[in-house]
């Protein structure tokens, strides 16, 4: 089939598309000729306006890349940003639109460098089909496996393998077939629904939009024809109703609108629906779409639903079908792709965001990482940037979800750093964990208040943080003495002492430090529950663990005490001779020397110790407690 001479946009205006819209992911390794292929498709479907074509001619001639300047360098059409144009690489995702008589397409051009896995995953998250480019001369590479795996993991069901640069291997059929076999063999565990193979030269134009005479032995479709004929999923409409609640508004006294975009299924006026988190039932009174009242709405549509009853519902909840409900749990297992330079560490607290919900969450267990070259499981204690792992995640309160396999919209989440607000990871939920349902907190008749009342005190946790040798233990010790003298019931949890017993199994890696703090915080919580004033003296160098500890306690119960001593002074005091060893390189991961200390920015008490007497500082802490008790 030869492409029509008419402008692409013209077709769009004239015809009804026979097939739905298709989102296409393109991925390949360095120099596979991906930008050239995309440029070629845009050019041959007339999606490039004249002025951009003229600019392309100018750029082709100006650049060193255009050695044979009479040929157009299609890559220029696609490589948008200044940096990458100069370096000759693609660093971010570009979206390109084109149309044929059959269907409308958007191409998401994903980058190919390993360090940009996150962009590739981003592009794949919304796509229907992946075009995987393979250089006919090089065959299947590490990146080919990587990209195929990520596409599969993110739910791309169909793959078209474009074996490019066939002109450089003299259109050798056996070379092509060998690559097909290789791909089939390694991709078997990825369970794609369909895989097709096309021999192509993007530069020359073979089998891109029409069948090429250079590959007489190939009887399959051209790339464009394959894309046009692909069947997309239509299961979203027949699936059970999922309407994630974006916002609830009350524009008039008698109308409470529940707004959201239907993730799957359909909703009808009069239909019984369930509020996922509470299980409360109601019926749909009316459905508003745009400015119209409608009888029915289906997957993909943005609607506002009004219910018969005034049930409790807010952003983050979900309206679902009565008979087929999603999971509601605070623990689940998921695949996680890590995006950030700071590794993912089990025990650390992040913000977990589903499409509409947002909750504090901890990765409780990193079960294993996945080697994406052979898809095998491998043991890991943390996930580095661009690594993928299977994790158990625990959220502060239950969220609503389906498995990602069943529903890409309600089965996904992202993880956000609590301090920088960066998106640090993304996850695909496998299933909920039963544990959370079966272990209920045992409600006892004698509670915290009762125990504290008997002791005539308000439980508290004084959390001392600071460098080794800053004076934490000294001050903590005096504070306990002062309180004890006044008849208060106290206990000191000291970092070093705890490491002799409870935390004997932990070392000083970042992962172990996180676990160290988690255990200390949990013990402090039990002691506070017993009605005690707990004094914790731990270096606790990371902000996120201190925040995690803080969140275990009621408001006002947790008092962070920053013992602020300059590192030079700590090293001068060096009560245990540790700085000397650390500076000599004998101790690894020593806070302040070879491991960071993150200074608190919201400590309740800030003790600057230089030139001050420890008793004076301890009295300051005591006064804070008194003021708090009095208030």
């Amino acid at each position: 089939m030869k492409m029509i001479a008419e402008a692409g946009s013209a077709l769009e205006a004239k015809i009804e598309h026979q097939k739905g819209f298709l989102r296409v992911l393109t991925c390949g390794s360095v120099d596979d000729g991906k930008s050239t292929l995309i440029g070629r498709m845009l050019y041959e479907t007339n999606a490039i306006p004249d002025d951009q074509l003229a600019a392309l001619r100018r750029e082709t001639q100006r650049s060193a890349r255009g050695k044979r300047s009479e040929e157009l360098d299609f890559a220029f059409l696609v490589d948008g940003l200044e940096d990458e144009r100069q370096q000759g690489i693609t660093i971010d995702i570009a979206y390109r639109f084109f149309v044929t008589p059959v269907r409308k397409f958007v191409i998401c051009d994903a980058p190919w460098h390993e360090e940009y896995t996150r962009n590739m995953a981003t592009a794949a998250s919304n796509d229907d089909v992946a075009i995987v480019l393979v250089d006919a001369r090089k065959g299947i590479l590490r990146q080919t496996r990587r990209h195929s795996f990520i596409a599969s993991l993110l739910g791309v069901r169909d793959v078209i393998v474009v074996v490019n640069k066939m002109d450089l291997v003299h259109y050798d059929q056996s070379r092509f077939e060998l690559i097909c076999e290789d791909f089939q063999a390694f991709s078997r565990p990825l369970s794609f629904r369909s895989i097709s193979f096309i021999p192509v030269s993007a530069k020359v134009g073979d089998n891109v939009t029409s069948h090429s005479d250079n590959t007489q032995w190939y009887r399959g479709r051209s790339l464009l024809s394959s894309l046009e004929s692909l069947e997309t999923d239509t299961t979203a409409e027949s699936a059970p109703l999922r309407l994630p609640v974006q916002m609830v508004s009350r524009p008039t006294a008698d109308l409470r609108g529940i707004a959201g975009q239907i993730a799957s299924g359909r909703v009808l006026v009069g239909q019984p629906v369930v509020v996922a988190k509470s299980g409360q039932q109601s019926r749909v009174r009316s459905i508003i779409r745009g400015r119209d009242y409608v009888e029915i709405a289906e997957a993909g549509q943005a609607v506002t639903v009004v219910l018969e009853d005034d049930v409790e519902i807010a952003r983050g909840n979900m309206l679902v079908s009565q008979h087929d409900r999603p999971s509601v749990s605070d623990q689940f297992m998921a695949h996680v792709i890590w995006f950030n330079k700071e590794a993912m560490i089990p025990g650390r607290s992040y913000i977990c965001c589903t499409e509409v919900d947002s909750v504090a969450a901890t990765v409780t267990t990193l079960k294993h990482a996945v080697d994406i070259n052979n898809f095998s499981e491998c043991a890991a204690t943390s996930l580095q940037m661009n690594e993928i792992g299977v994790c158990n995640i625990s959220t502060q309160r239950p969220i609503v979800f389906d498995s990602y396999r069943e529903n890409r919209t309600t089965g996904n989440f992202i993880l956000i750093d609590r301090f920088t607000n960066e998106t640090v990871g993304a996850g695909m939920i496998a299933h909920g964990l039963r544990r959370a349902d079966n272990i209920h907190w045992h409600a006892l008749d004698v509670n915290k208040q009762a125990r504290a009342a008997l002791k005539l005190q308000t439980p508290a946790v004084l959390w001392f943080t600071g460098l080794s040798g800053s004076g934490k233990s000294t001050i903590a010790n005096i504070v306990e003495k002062l309180l004890h003298q006044r008849g208060k019931h106290t206990y000191v949890l000291d970092g070093d002492n705890i490491r002799h017993g409870l935390n004997r199994d932990l070392g000083f890696t970042q992962e172990a430090r996180v676990e160290n703090i988690r255990r200390a915080a949990e013990v402090a919580k039990l002691m506070a529950d017993a009605g005690l004033i707990v004094i914790v003296s731990f270096i606790s160098p990371f902000r996120s663990e201190r925040t995690m500890a803080r969140e275990l306690f009621a408001a006002g119960e947790f008092v962070e005490v920053f013992v602020d001593t300059p590192i030079e002074e700590c090293a001068r005091r060096d009560p245990k001779g540790l700085y000397k060893k650390a500076l000599a390189g004998e101790i690894k991961n020593f806070t302040g020397i070879s491991s960071p200390y993150e200074v608190p920015n919201c400590a309740e008490i800030h003790l600057r110790t230089l030139g001050r007497d420890p008793y004076e500082l301890a009295t300051e802490v005591e006064k804070y407690l008194d003021a708090r008790e009095g208030s």
Partner: protein
């Protein structure tokens, strides 16, 4: 007519995005530039929150060099729909008589648009601003996220964009930081016109062909909208049948010769059109990477 199912999909996507912003931002605003994209965006906002009003104001950055018809249209729409409009002009630029003739397109744009926008956002403390940008307009726009994060100085760093997975957006910002949000990211120029036709959306009459006073300057057709436009000795003001594909400041916006007087005729004309829309914007062709530079500085 294009299958409305596709336009429905674009519409639902844009509405979803707007609701996410309203549900999570502290103080959102909608940039309203009076053009066709803004008209579509406003129409979507009216739908997204119906029967409530859009729960945010509109912000127009007035360079004082907009077509008179644009300003009249803006005031009419705001009045008819009962909207809350903020108009901001860079007073410093006006005091220095910054204009597109003596200052060159790029420093004029920096002063009267980029700086003005930053002033307005800072003054009102908006933490999220909707813009009508589309990915098909220009190469660097094609790579920008729907939720585009800006630091305290409003600048955009293409290398540290937040990954945007599914429709699960990270809308969190720190103090002084903000996000620019582009609900029309995935629309093309033709989608815009098809939607305008389908929904019968009002647009500025300058988009439709009419005889208007123009001069030919540097190979382009510039409309003489008011007496501030200096006419060069070799130029002659003449009446021609023209229209605009894109609207901005009149001295910087080129007209096209066209007889398309209705939306249907415009869509018909696009069948034969072989130039891109921003071809008519003189500010973009300053340098190859002009738009990316401007965006890094805080331009929309």
């Amino acid at each position: 007519m294009v299958t409305s199912k596709y336009l429905d999909m674009l519409e639902a996507e844009a509405i979803h995005i707007m609701r996410e912003v309203v549900a999570t931002a502290r103080k959102p605003v909608m940039l309203y530039s009076i053009g066709k994209d803004s008209s579509v965006m406003l129409h979507l906002a009216l739908k997204a929150f119906y029967p409530a009003r859009p729960p945010f104001p509109l912000l127009h950055i007035d360079t004082t060099w907009k077509f008179r018809e644009m300003i009249a249209f803006r005031d009419r729409v705001v009045k008819d729909e009962g909207l809350d409009l903020i108009v901001h002009t860079n007073a410093e630029g006006v005091a220095q008589n910054v204009n597109p003739f003596n200052f060159g397109a790029s420093s004029y744009t920096h002063m009267m648009k980029t700086l003005a926008l930053r002033q307005a956002l800072d003054r009102h403390g908006f933490d999220a601003a909707f813009g009508g940008g589309r990915r098909d307009e220009e190469k660097s726009r094609a790579k920008e996220r729907i939720f585009s994060f800006r630091d305290v100085k409003h600048s955009w760093d293409p290398k540290s964009q937040r990954p945007e997975m599914w429709k699960t957006y990270n809308t969190r910002v720190g103090p002084g930081e903000s996000i620019r949000v582009f609900p029309l990211s995935n629309w093309t120029e033709l989608d815009i016109w098809n939607y305008i036709a389908q929904e019968d959306i009002r647009v500025v009459p300058l988009y439709f062909a009419q005889r208007r006073p123009v001069v030919r300057r540097d190979g382009q057709i510039i409309m003489v909208d008011d007496e501030r436009m200096p006419i060069r000795p070799d130029e002659q003001v003449e009446e021609r049948l023209i229209r605009f594909r894109t609207l901005g400041c009149y001295p910087l916006t080129c007209a096209v010769e066209s007889g398309a007087r209705t939306v249907t005729e415009i869509i018909e004309e696009m069948r034969l059109s072989r130039t891109s829309e921003r071809f008519g914007r003189t500010i973009d062709s300053d340098e190859d990477a002009a738009m990316e530079k401007k965006k890094r500085e805080g331009y929309f």
